[in-house]
């Protein structure tokens, strides 16, 4: 017996092409004998787990987003000051043994910061006097990250601790550097699993099951016939478009279902209940606020979930997709979809003698009832 957290979600997308096949068409599925537009499970999971909303929720709200951590680490080592003071711009005194050998400090900075993200690399500029100013600002600094990296307060404290050990002359191994991020690693893999054909020992069974999102109504895939005009074309003998093409798209209200196996998640996280709760919160936030990024520049179809129903219990989990077996039609698609979903939930409870309704919370943005905060505190209370 395990505890399952089931999330039923309705999200509406304006014309978009979030997840496409080899011909560039939106993916589809046949449900109840009619065509629906589909966003695949793997597409949803990818957009959530690579999103900033997800990593930020895991790290807590406060942290530092920077490309220049490596530069600051070097500075802290060379000046013998606390990294946290340098990051906050405090004028503080020397608290540790200074690392006089700049090359060594540089090596440590590379070693530590490259565990958080790829760094520019390359040779350090030889003259420090000439590059005194650019040293910290230049994008080309070999110690800068190629992309912004979010450092959590715990990670910064961890680095500071490590720096103290380095300047104290203690031996610091690669493992110590890797450990700086091990929490983060665990959450990602614990939720979504991992399969390595080469080495089964690293395999982790995903604690989260995500269905393909399908529209609740019969949905056509539409064609956009478009032309691109050549601005220098003066309507002489070559009058006409510079380019013509077709882009397919669709719009609709999507139903998605997520099932979290809480016991398995905790097991995957070595029994860390607090981390497991943070992982659940991060997942709920990302799932309801992050859309797949496909063709955002042409459609700007970003969307938040309009309806969320969360159920908690040990009974056999089931999706409520059957509510849309018969496609929703009529004028009020959203209202009918919610009615069908909740109606099916109630009728299933009656028919199968389950009690999902008693242990659930919902949020309906259109009606203005419930909130994400309520839902998360309901999920996390034991």
């Amino acid at each position: 017996m395990s505890e399952f957290i089931q999330i039923h979600m309705l999200a509406s997308y304006p014309p978009s092409n979030l997840n496409r096949d080899d011909l560039g068409r939106p993916k589809t599925a046949t449900v109840g004998g009619t065509q629906r537009i589909r966003v695949s499970s793997q597409s949803l999971k990818r957009s959530w787990r690579t999103s900033e909303a997800f990593s930020d929720a895991l790290k807590g709200a406060i942290g530092i987003r920077t490309r220049d951590m490596g530069v600051k680490i070097k500075k802290a080592l060379v000046e013998g000051r606390l990294l946290s003071d340098i990051l906050e711009g405090k004028e503080s005194g020397v608290t540790r043994e200074r690392i006089k050998d700049e090359k060594k400090a540089h090596e440590w900075a590379v070693k530590i910061s490259s565990h958080f993200g790829k760094i520019e690399g390359g040779k350090e500029k030889d003259s420090d006097k000439k590059s005194e100013k650019t040293d910290e600002k230049s994008n080309k600094n070999p110690l800068s990250h190629k992309q912004m990296v979010h450092y959590s307060p715990e990670e910064i404290a961890g680095i500071d601790d490590l720096l103290g050990r380095i300047s104290g002359g203690e031996k610091v191994s690669d493992d110590d550097c890797i450990r700086l991020r091990s929490d983060h690693k665990a959450v990602d893999i614990a939720l979504f699993g991992r399969m390595l054909a080469d080495n089964a020992a690293y395999n982790t069974e995903a604690a989260v099951q995500v269905s393909h999102a399908i529209t609740v109504h019969d949905t056509p895939v539409e064609d956009d016939y478009f032309t691109a005009v050549d601005d220098l074309n003066q309507l002489d003998d070559t009058a006409g478009a510079g380019h013509i093409g077709e882009a397919e798209f669709g719009a609709g209200l999507f139903y998605t279902y997520i099932c979290i196996n809480r016991d398995l998640l905790k097991e995957n996280l070595q029994g860390d209940n607090e981390l497991s709760n943070r992982a659940i919160e991060a997942l709920i936030r990302a799932a309801s606020m992050v859309s797949p990024s496909g063709k955002q520049n042409s459609f700007a179809s970003r969307s938040y979930a309009s309806y969320l129903l969360v159920e908690k219990g040990t009974e056999q989990p089931r999706s409520l997709a059957a509510a849309f077996f018969k496609p929703v039609s009529g004028k009020d698609i959203y209202g009918d979809a919610v009615k069908n979903l909740e109606g099916l939930r109630d009728r299933m409870d009656n028919a199968y003698g389950t009690s999902f309704k008693q242990s659930s919370r919902s949020m309906n943005v259109i009606d203005g009832t419930g909130s994400l905060t309520d839902i998360i505190s309901f999920v996390l209370e034991s």
Partner: protein, 245 residues
């Protein structure tokens, strides 16, 4: 009299994988023995690497499946983006998917996966070797009500959209158990059970009707879950009428 444990299988999408080599990941038109025994294992909490329990499950139980609605097969174009394995080894910081994507030098693997949409069937297991069978059918049915792991229809992205509603029925033949089970069958959406259905079953059970129409080889006998190996078995096919007993 024999006892049968029956479960309903419905979801908008399912994937009952057959032999998968390279980029084509096909699906059977009906649930496989390995998929259904996998669900039983998930409900009971038997893990894939628990070879002994998996072997006993494989040896202990017979399997049959009745298709109420065949559904439609669709093909999914699936891409997997991952960072090149050589650069993965060099980078210590690649710990999450986000890190991986930020590396920039990714490569993409393509595959085509078949999904069975709108498929409705009833799977049935019984004890065929009492010595191997570790769990009674009643224990299996109870575990489906409060499973240990999530159930899914062949692929993890295909959750059941109805409770499987496991029941144990005592009957003198397979057919009579199935007929008893679908009496008053309700998909909660006005789904009607057809008069004649396709039934797939294996040797060693009183089927309760005349000879099957044909026999097929199907590679869904579990040899080892941890090594992901399967062997052939004979599957018999018949069209039966379920409107009369």
């Amino acid at each position: 009299m024999t006892k049968f444990c029956l479960i309903n299988l419905y979801g908008p999408m399912a994937g009952y994988g057959g032999i998968a080599v390279g980029e084509m990941r096909s699906s059977w038109s009906r649930p496989s023995r390995s998929a259904v025994l996998g669900m039983v294992a998930a409900a009971l909490g038997i893990r894939r690497d628990d070879e002994e329990a998996q072997n006993r499950l494989q040896a202990g139980y017979g399997f049959s499946v009745m298709v109420l609605q065949p559904g439609i097969m669709i093909q999914d174009f699936h891409t997997i983006q991952s960072v090149h394995s050589s650069s993965l080894k060099k980078m210590n910081h690649v710990m999450t998917r986000r890190d991986e994507m930020n590396l920039g030098d990714s490569e993409t693997i393509l595959s085509r996966r078949e999904y069975l949409c709108d498929h409705v069937s009833v799977a049935c297991v019984w004890i065929r070797d009492a010595e191997s069978a570790q769990f009674s059918l009643e224990e299996i049915a109870a575990s489906f009500r409060n499973p240990v792991f999530c159930l899914y229809l062949g692929r993890k992205s295909c959750p059941p959209a109805l409770p499987v509603h496991a029941r144990v029925i005592q009957a003198d033949s397979l057919k009579s158990a199935l007929v008893q089970h679908i009496e008053g069958f309700d998909l909660l959406n006005g789904f009607r059970v057809p008069d004649r259905v396709s039934l797939y079953f294996e040797d060693g059970i009183d089927i309760g009707f005349d000879d099957p129409v044909m026999v097929m080889k199907r590679r869904d006998n579990i040899l080892s879950r941890s090594r992901w190996q399967f062997s052939d078995r004979n599957e018999y096919y018949a069209r039966i009428s379920v409107s009369e007993v």
